[in-house]
Symmetry: C2
Subunit: 316 residues, 2 copies
Amino acid sequence: MTERIDLAAVMERLAGAEDILLLCHKNPDGDTLGSAGALYWALTALGKRAAIFCSDPVTERYDYMQLGLYDGSWEPKYVAAIDVAGIQLFGEGAAQYLKRVDLCIDHHPSNSGYADATLLEPEAAATAEIIYLLICRMEVEFTPVMADCLYTGVSTDTGCFKFANTTPRTHHIAAELMERGAHFVHLNELLFESKSQRRLAIEQTALSHLEYHFGGRCALMYVSRDEILQTGADSNDLEGITSIPRMIEGVVVGVTMRQLESGSYKVSVRTAGEIDACKICAALGGGGHMRAAGCEFFGNLENAKAAVLAEVEKQI
Amino acid sequence: MTERIDLAAVMERLAGAEDILLLCHKNPDGDTLGSAGALYWALTALGKRAAIFCSDPVTERYDYMQLGLYDGSWEPKYVAAIDVAGIQLFGEGAAQYLKRVDLCIDHHPSNSGYADATLLEPEAAATAEIIYLLICRMEVEFTPVMADCLYTGVSTDTGCFKFANTTPRTHHIAAELMERGAHFVHLNELLFESKSQRRLAIEQTALSHLEYHFGGRCALMYVSRDEILQTGADSNDLEGITSIPRMIEGVVVGVTMRQLESGSYKVSVRTAGEIDACKICAALGGGGHMRAAGCEFFGNLENAKAAVLAEVEKQI
C-alpha cells in the first residue's frame, strides 16, 4: 500500500534525497520525458546528482530537452518514477532499479500505487503540470530548458490543448511556461506539424483502401503486412493513423485494420457521439474505452471486415 | 484619417449607439464571425437592436454561434466593422453599408484606418481577444454562447494555440473562456479534427504526385484541373493542402501546384528555417511572406516545375 503524499511532502523528500534516479515509462512520450527532464534540471540546479532512465531509447526528436540520461557510473540511492502508472510500464530493462521505488509522481487515475510514496493528481492533464507546480516552489531558477521540457509534456498529453483532459489550469500553465522562455513556436512545429516520410507513406497506403459503409457513417481502411513492410512504418506510425477515418465529416465510426506478422488483423475502432467503441470490440473479444477500442481478428481480410462491420451495424 | 481609440472609448460609443450593424469580412473565418457573434450577444443583452452582416454566406459549421444575421428589416444607425483590415475586404455585397463605418475593432497590423474610429491591437492573436476584454467590462452576463464564439475566434486564428501569434494572454483568455462555459471539446473536434470527404480526396490525389528533390529537402506535389473537378475540391480545400509538403520531416521547402481554369499553375511555397519563400516566388513574379508565398506560372506542368525548382535550388 503506497503512502499518498502532497506537493510539500514531495519537496521535503527530494530535498533530503541524494543520487536520484528518475524513471520514465517504456515507449517514452513527451510527458514522461518532459516531466523527468524538468525535474532532472531542477535537482541538478539544487546541486544534487540525478539522471533519467528509460528502458526504451529516446528518439533524437527530443534532443532539445538535453536529458541527462543515466550512464551507470554511480549507484542510485533514491528512485522516483515519473508519469508511470504501473510496474509493468517500466519495461524489462528497468527491473534492476525496481527493488524499491521511493516516490512516484503521476496523473494517471489507474496508478496502481506500487511506490513507497505517491503524489497522484488525476485531474492534471499531464504529469508536467504537477512538476511545474513543484519546481515553482523549489528554490531554483526556472530556466528556458525546464520550460521547454514542461511545455512538451503539457502540449503532447493534450494534443496541443485539444483533448478533453485540458483544463483552465493547463492553459494558465502554458502561458506561464511561455513567459519562462519555452520555445513554443519551434516546439509546436516539431511536435504537431511534422510527419515522417514513412508515416505519410503508410497514411497514403491505408487511405488508398478507404471504404465508406452505412451511408458514410462508418469509414474503414486497412493495410496489409506487405504494405507495412514496404513503407517501413513502425508501431508509432501505425498507431498514429488510427484517428484518420473518424475525422472524416459525417463519420461516427472509424475503423483501421492492420495485418500482423501472424497474418491476423489488429482492429482499431474510434467513435463519435453516442456510439460505444468498446461494445463493438468487446463483441469480438477485445476492449477499450467508449471512444477508442481495439481487438484482434484471426482470419482473412474479408472475414475480418465482415465481422467488424456486423458489430458496427448493431451500434450505429 | 481614423481616430485611434481605446477600450473605454469603444464602450462609451457602443453604449450610446442604437440599431447597430456588425460587419464581418468576406470569406468569413472563425475570428470575424466569433468576434462579431459575441459582441452581437452582448449588445442584445444590453437591450440594443443589433445584427451581423457578411457579404459571403456563413457555413452551417458555425451554426452553434447562433449568429443574429441581418435580415434587412430595419435601418442601421451605427456600423461597426469587426476584424476587417481594409475596405476591400468587406466584399461587394457590403457596399451599401460602407457610406460611414463608425467603428472598427481589429488586430491586423495592416489595418488601413478606413473607419471613423478604430480600436487596433496588433499584438492580439485574434480580434476575439479584444472583444473578450470588452465584454468583460460591459455590464452583461457572460454566457456560454459568447464563450463559444470567442473560443472559436481565438483558437482558429492561432491554429489551436500553435502559431507564432499565440501569446501568454491568449492562453489565459482560453482558460477564462473555458471557465465561462465554452464547449471546448466539441469545438476542438469540429474545428480541428474534422475533414470533408472532398478535402481528404484532394489531399490523396495531390500526395499521389508527391516528389522529393534536393535530397529530400524539397517536397513538391501538384493537382491538375481535372483532378480538382473530380474531387469537387473548393478553394478552401485547396488552400488547406498547401501546408502538407512542408510538414514532412527533413523538408525545408514545400511546394504545391494546382492547375487553374485557364490551364496555368498556381504555385504555393511554404518554407522552414532560414529559407525565404518570398524570394523564390518573387523571382517568378509572385510575392508573400518569409514562410509562405505564392506565384502563378503560365505554361505546362513540366515547365512550371522546372522553373520553380530552379528558384528553390538558388535558395536551398
